[in-house]
Every structure is written in C-alpha cells, then in structure tokens.
C-alpha cells in the first residue's frame, strides 16, 4: 500500500507534517466505524480495516525513518526487516566510543553536564545524517537509494543511542 496516496500527498521525504495531520483527522472521521454502524457487516468490516490502514500510514509517515523506509520500499528497496549485519568499521568504532561514553556517565563528577554534551553531539550527528538522507532520497536514482538505505541504517544506531541516553537520564533522576 502506498501511504502517500492514501493521504493524497506527494511521495516525498520532505513532507508537510501539518497537512498530513489534518488529512489524517479528516480520513479518520470519514472512515470511523461509528459512521458505518448502520451499514452492512461488510461495510463495517471495511471501515475497521480502513481505519487500521489510516493509522498505520499516519504513524509511518510521521516519523522520518519510517517515512524514508516506506519511500524506499515503494521504489522496490525493502530494508525494514533485513537481518544483514552492518559492517562499516569506522562508523561502528564511533558507535562503540559513544556507547563507552554513555557507560561512563554515572561515574563522572557532573553527569548532567556529560549528558548535555553527548546529547548535543547526538542531535548534531542526527541532523547531519537526516539532511544527507533528504538529499539522497530526492535524487531518485538507484545509487542514491542505496546510499539512503545506508543512511537509514546509521540513523537507527543514533536513535538507539538517544533512547539509551534517555534511559540513563531517567535512572539518574530516580
């Protein structure tokens, strides 16, 4: 299913999220099962199905990584369930170092300051990768799509780091 088509929006990475939000609400209202309570069983079932699709589509398009994955899937490059290992040694070494920094936060004299520094670093890297991703996806060539897939993989590591950092922050607050 083409999620962009469902909302009648152009299949682009650079998406108007406000527009997506209002179209989502409109569609949701239109297909809400309560609107079809007087219809046949088949109509009701279809409405439920359509509501589920609309929700899936909205949540996928809202998040940049899932939106990018969906765009690539529409172009025939499916990476969402791949189990292939990522093997870029330089990138992984950097990830390892960031993980080590996270592990050392608790022992540091000023954990909040360290968290702030790492947080800024992660945001900056993520921003940079997302910009590269937008450029790669815009060019719509097979080569750039492969590059985009790699950028998505890299971003996933950064989103994971972000999660881990938030976890540590919570634990320190408790």
């Amino acid at each position: 299913m083409n999620y962009f088509q469902l909302f009648n929006l152009p299949a682009k990475f650079d998406l108007d999220l406000t527009e997506l939000g209002s179209r989502y609400l409109k569609l949701q209202k239109q297909f809400h099962p309560d609107q079809h309570s007087s219809g046949s069983e088949r109509d009701k079932l279809l409405a439920v199905q359509q509501t589920a699709n609309i929700n899936d589509a909205y949540h996928s398009l809202k998040q940049p990584l899932m939106r990018a994955e969906h765009l690539l899937a529409l172009r025939g490059l499916k990476i969402s369930h791949e189990q292939r290992s990522f093997t870029d040694p330089v990138f992984l070494m950097q990830q390892m170092e960031l993980r080590e920094q996270l592990a050392e936060i608790e022992q540091s004299g000023d954990p909040d300051a360290v968290i702030d520094t790492i947080e800024r670093q992660l945001q900056q890297q993520k921003k940079h990768l997302l910009q590269q991703l937008a450029t790669a996806l815009d060019s719509e060539t097979a080569e750039q799509d492969q590059l985009a897939a790699d950028l998505i993989r890299k971003l996933k590591f950064f989103f994971k780091l972000q999660q881990e950092l938030e976890l540590i922050e919570q634990q320190l607050q408790d």
Binding site: H81, S85, F86, T87, M96, R99, I152, K156
Partner: protein, 127 residues
C-alpha cells in the same frame, strides 16, 4: 521473554570481555552492528605464528542474547585455526544457547563478527 540458562550464564559471567591493542600485528578486529536493534559488537582474535587463534576478546553493547552469542564465540574460537573458526555457523550458536526465533539475528551478528575478524587478519597479512 525467557532467556535460557546458558544465555543467562554468559550474560552474568561473560567470558573474555575486553580489548587487545588493535595495532598489534597478531591481533585482528571484527566490528559489526545490527541497525534494527542498534547492537554493536567488537570481536578480536590474537593469532600465533602457526595460524592458531590463541586468545579472543569481545565487547558488545546489546541485549543479553547478543552478549551471550559473542561471549560463546570467543570461547569456541580459542585453539582453532582460522579455517576452523571460519566454519562457525550462527545456527550452532543459536542451538547451543537455545535462542528463540526473534533472537536469531544475535547469533548471525556473532557469526559475522568472527568472519569480519578473520577477514581483517587476512587483509593485514596479505591474503
């Protein structure tokens, strides 16, 4: 999800955690990661003049199954030749640790890590 006793054992008492000096000529390093869960795994081997893996170390940031898989592999490769170590299959790891289907990718990661380390050694030593 319940971990098997073997996974818990390796998770609580991981074998061979640590690092070798990656610039040491007898040391080779394999780095792999799983984008889906953000796991990162480093596996290092120390190879003697006869081509036998004398020692191995790992460092893994990931779930219990990923840590157990890499810990197990460092135990398995010690005393093996590079060719023998190359034969280690993720299915053997998964079976030994009784990994559930959703954690099979952790054993794939460990297999890829040892393969990457062997490739690094061969590259360092000209083929």
């Amino acid at each position: 999800m319940a971990y098997s006793n073997k996974v818990i054992d390796h998770y609580e008492n991981p074998r061979n955690v640590g690092s070798f000096d990656k610039d040491d000529d007898t040391v080779a390093t394999g780095m792999v990661g799983a984008p889906a869960c953000g796991d990162v795994m480093k596996l290092q081997i120390k190879v003697n003049a006869a081509g036998i893996i004398e020692d191995a170390k790992f460092k893994t940031y990931g779930c219990g199954s990923a840590i157990a898989s890499s810990s197990l592999v460092t135990e398995w490769v010690k005393g093996k030749s590079l060719d023998e170590a190359q034969q280690i299959k993720n299915t053997d790891i998964a079976q030994e640790l009784a990994l559930p289907p959703v954690k099979i990718h952790c054993s794939i990661l460990a297999e890829d890590a040892i393969k990457a380390a062997i490739a690094d050694y061969k590259q360092k030593h000209g083929g």
